[in-house]
Symmetry: C2
Subunit: 453 residues, 2 copies
């Protein structure tokens, strides 16, 4: 049983993670007689489904981010804390930060997942994934540096390598990134260069299963592939990446092994639970699945713990149809809302109906004129699907001004090809100069912080 609320100290709900799951859990508890503390490493919530737009210069990071404090500032029972949880003591009911402990009555862990490189962690540097705003800015930098470098390169082979983009993983993330890249090369950037034809860029999407978007109906996979090919993307299914080196991806398809020379290799495959799953396993005896996600009860509890919940991507919730819930925003939102309502009900001694995931369907966008949508009862592709995709994504942007701005950016770029946010900014505190030899050298790894100021 949950602890009773006392007059002086209300029931304290600690939420770790300010993504869709954590934020929706907090908002569900807005008017409950509880104290809520939301802890996140970052000061902002990010609308992950549109991160690829930041990575390809269509939107600014600020357009898809909302300060967590601002989102929750009217919720007087809620405190936001920027910090990192290092461990959890489920016996003493407290979470530990670097210099501080926080006691909880109920704990909700919602720290999500990131990519995994299947044991090849050294690939992360050579083929970055797209999970954070910093990832997006780094990928944006690599993409636009590649075009700049190709423009200056006189050796045809080297130029070809600059104009080759390899994407690993044909799920929604890889498909959307490939579509956006195709559109950049064949549309947005077409008039910008004098020495290269950007539409000669090769964009290669590698997918290990036999079709892209394998969780969608086969017909939509085929439609998505056709749409990608129209944008100049080469889709290789049944293609397994066996090695990634600086500027070379080694790919095996059946018995054929190919080495692709590419200065830009991006990763959109695999899934690895965040570090909090291990913390829960060590402290709370939680059981983890192969991806490291936490196995939870039908009420999203860690088995054996009445007051420790795991929601969103980090949970392996297989009670609805035997398959884990998909790692998408609606599943995170719904699990957050459910756990919030559950805590409220228990405090009142009430019960609520069991969790039922309402599948809103699947969406993926391919460039700015096409998408595929699977609502179960209706399947769309092409322009109509794109319109649906756009409205749904804008609708779920947390802040109204972001909604407005993203709508305008899209409307504008739809008619003009303009993409204003394609800045090459450089990591590091000092203004960093992109030197010529950074652009042209063969061996230097321009992704590392070796720039000179």
């Amino acid at each position: 049983m949950l602890k009773e609320t006392q007059q002086q100290a209300p029931h304290h709900v600690v939420i770790v993670g300010g993504g869709f799951g954590g934020l929706y859990a907090a908002q569900t508890l807005a008017k409950a007689p509880v104290k809520v503390t939301l802890i996140d490493k970052r000061n902002f919530h990010v609308f992950q489904p549109l991160l690829y737009q930041v990575a390809t210069g269509g939107l600014s990071a600020g357009d898809i981010s909302s300060p967590i404090r601002a989102v929750l500032n009217r919720q007087k029972n809620t405190e936001v804390l920027m910090g990192e949880v290092t461990s959890i003591d489920t016996k003493e009911q407290k979470v530990m930060l670097r210099h501080r402990e926080i006691n909880y009555d109920s704990l909700i862990v919602a720290t999500g997942v990131s990519h995994q490189y299947f044991g090849n962690d050294d690939w992360a540097q050579k083929a970055p994934g797209l999970k954070t705003v910093e990832d997006a800015l780094e990928i944006r930098r690599r993409i636009f540096i590649a075009f700049e470098s190709a423009e200056k390169e006189t050796d045809p082979e080297k130029r070809k390598a600059w104009l080759t983009f390899v994407l690993v993983g044909g799920g929604p993330a890889g498909v959307e990134l490939a579509g956006a890249l195709g559109e950049l090369a064949h549309g947005t950037l077409k008039e910008d260069f004098r020495n290269i034809d950007t539409s000669e860029a090769r964009i290669i999407l590698l997918q290990s299963p036999d079709r892209i978007l394998p969780t969608y109906p086969p017909k939509l996979s085929a439609k998505a592939q056709a749409d990608l090919e129209k944008l100049g993307v080469t889709v290789q299914t049944g293609a397994r990446v066996t090695n990634i080196d600086n500027n070379v991806a080694t790919v095996r398809r059946g018995d054929v092994v190919e080495e692709i020379q590419a200065r830009t290799i991006l990763w959109a495959a695999g899934m690895k639970a965040s570090g909090m799953a291990k913390v829960l396993a060590e402290s709370g005896g939680a059981e983890l699945d192969r991806g490291g996600r936490v196995m939870v009860t039908p009420e999203f509890k860690v088995p054996g713990h009445e007051n420790v919940f795991v929601i969103g991507d980090l949970a392996n919730y297989s009670h609805q149809d035997g398959k884990p819930l998909p790692g998408v925003a609606p599943a995170a939102m719904q699990s957050g809302q459910y756990v919030g309502r559950l805590i409220k009900a228990k405090l009142k001694g009430e019960t609520i109906r069991p969790f039922h995931y309402l599948d809103w369907g699947s969406l993926a966008v391919i460039g700015k004129h096409a998408a595929v949508v699977d609502f179960g009862f209706i399947r769309l592709s092409g322009f109509l699907a794109w319109i649906v995709w756009m409205f749904i994504h804008v609708f779920y942007l947390i802040e109204f001004d972001n909604q407005l701005i993203v709508m305008i950016q899209w409307a504008w770029s739809y008619f003009t090809r303009s993409k204003g946010a394609r800045l090459i900014t450089t990591p590091g505190e000092q203004p960093v100069i992109m030197l010529d030899d950074d652009l042209n050298c063969d061996t230097c790894n321009y992704g590392q912080q070796t720039h000179r100021a």
Copy 2:
């Protein structure tokens, strides 16, 4: 005399720098029978007058930036090159990049200025200035980390230091930054925190002369100071900074020396010419003024060189009324246009009227309800001045979609206090975690790249 245009090789104008001066020079040459090459270290033009909005979370970097290629892509005689000029050979008429030389017939240098620390270059790390997009993101990070840290700090003295912001320099840049900070602390952030009252933040603007905005009429200086004080800014005139250490600014006013404990110290004083001035002095024998700017003829030429021009901030042009042209965007634009027209005319064997700087007046904004405007024939302050300031700034944003977006952001934040772009992002390629001890430690310099991933 300029070289004659030949049938096969048109007159080649090389422009170094894609700021207001370089961009306007390039655009003036759009339809001339010349070949233009614009070289910049960055791939984007930045609207510097609004950088402080990025630094205070009001706008995203992308909102005030335009890809140089996109701005010039319809100008078929123009090529854009991302790279850095390392030296110039005025005899052979060529500029050198790392791995490449480019011959010119006419050369226009427009690389601007940055801050100077009056011989204390080690202060740059402790009190960053605001000249580049990276500067703005770093300052934004420091400002919002300060509030986050104050929220967590329990020691009153340390909390006070986190909530103390010192700005050095009372010119337009310092005044606008101070106003935006005042507005953040007293408006935007007011509801966001639970343990601190952000309106207790001390914002101290240090100005060495006896009034802020010394190039404006004294009445407007007084009005600006009053407006700043309404936003909670403390203005100290006649205050000289004698030392800056980690978190301590030492200030002398007359005989009184004060040490101000402040975790955030920002620099908006001094002016130092970019490195290209020295290059011109060495190669072309250019004479430099005390700030390192290049002394130019009435036609913006380096004396002794018929085909080498210096425009914008980098030039010391004192032919109009004995004083150098002010380092503002309109002066850079006008000098760029003039030199463009001059080159066109000379190629036709024509002459044009001597350069005459048209002073559009001076503007500075103080928070979102007040500004001071000096058009010479009319002087405004308060809300009306703010409206004028807003329209002028939006009008000169290079791209139309940027104009629209900035207008909406301002209109929205005007009515709601919302500021969506207050992200704390961290330098470095890996997603960097803001650890608790980064927030709380006394001695660590969180500005340096010592974060752990």
